[in-house]
Symmetry: D2
Subunit: 148 residues, 4 copies
């Protein structure tokens, strides 16, 4: 699917607490992966896709298959960050998200995360049709709005 | 100071993400301490008390001195929780918070946290006057509102 | 059961990494609960009690029911800590551990943790007999060694 | 510097505790970054390079600049993992580590982590000579041993 078909970005705000920082005084590097996951979770929730429900009803769940993160500038305690999430590819078995973490006008980190679908036995499986159709429906809706 | 002088409760909403859970399928027991700290931080922020600012300007910071937590019922992925925070005592060197974590009408956990004030050398120190007065001012204001 | 019946202490060494610290430069307060749990897990493993096996075979697992932690002195990055764990009470439905976290000759934190047993439905349940007997057998063995 | 000049691998053992897992029953994806950092820290410690000392004495510290992680197979509670760490490049301002996380004969995750050096003001800086020489000395020593 063409990335241009996914022009919709999602924005999620994060407050930095002590739990997110480390002894360098900065946000701990693995915390950015947590921030990115919170943002993806909220993005999917906007599509009426709640992971605990998907697991219960469809016996499948999403796992991170690959993640690349580049740290450009540090974040600090008490700061307000915004995670920009962009679903750039949606295949039968994978979703790819481009994500950026911003503090005001400055991009602090860039992530690319590839999400796979797993069944109850832990085997890779296709993304359920009902999930795919919700994501695609929403994209169509938003596209049509853009073109009205 | 009389606990009755602190009738003001603070409410902070928490969404449960994968990072907060463990292999039992429930929220990991230490995550409740993180939730409670986020709530105390937001409560203080409402009093214009931001910890990174206090540290920079007053060379003091708050640390947890004692914490007691009782787990009544588990929380799960994707749930919306509310942390009720109640500053029940405010001394020259300590603040005591009573906190509860609720899911709708059910109380899931109760915490009592004693917070001490530390200087840059890590020595216990008195809570700075400017901090105390903000907390007490606010309490007076709210009390007077209640009695109008 | 009389605490004197549990004279056996367990010692577990912890190295402090960045992940355990926060922007105060010290070990984050909730990390001590993680350290204590690692130590309890290793203590039980010495009794041939591995939690993932207990869950699979006996359909029960242990959860923290109550925890009290007192912070006496901070720990820092790269330090070597030792968790002293002491099973002070063992009832049909609860285990109580006294734990202390030491750096060389200095006690940094004291914890009391009450552990309950839960079945697959999340209901409190009795500690399985096979678990109890292993714990008690071991205690008897070690007591007899002490008295030889 | 030629990667062939760094044939020395470091092995670090990790036990999986509840804190490392999430509600999927598996190790949480961000925990692998923690495991990898513990291993890099222990690897550097073998070269007499302790990060808290480097910071105190040389006013510099290491930060993750880029990290790529690929998840091949999940890890579970109570498992014993081994992190294989390989310093594949050592420049004036960067170190690159290839790391793999294994359970017995199975590779569960692969990471490539680029580490940069930062001064007290948070600015990128050259790796201190005393650090570089320790790393290079050790490599030379081990190389000469290999060729004896």
């Amino acid at each position: 699917m063409n990335p241009n078909k996914f022009p919709i970005k999602h924005f999620h705000t994060i407050r930095v607490y002590y739990e997110d920082t480390d002894a360098t005084g900065r946000v701990y590097h693995a915390s950015y992966l947590k921030f990115a996951e919170r943002a993806r979770t909220e993005m999917l929730r906007e599509f009426q896709l709640e992971q605990s429900q998907i697991r219960k009803k469809l016996k499948t769940f999403f796992v991170v298959f690959q993640c690349n993160v580049m740290y450009l500038s540090p974040a600090f305690l008490d700061e307000d960050l915004t995670v920009h999430s962009h679903l750039i590819d949606l295949k039968r078995v994978r979703m790819i998200f481009d994500q950026q973490i911003w503090r005001q006008q400055e991009c602090l980190a860039k992530l690319t995360c590839e999400i796979a679908c797993i069944n109850e036995k832990g085997r890779p499986t296709r993304i359920p049709d009902s999930v795919l159709s919700k994501l695609r429906m929403d994209i169509k809706d938003k596209m049509s709005l853009l073109h009205t």
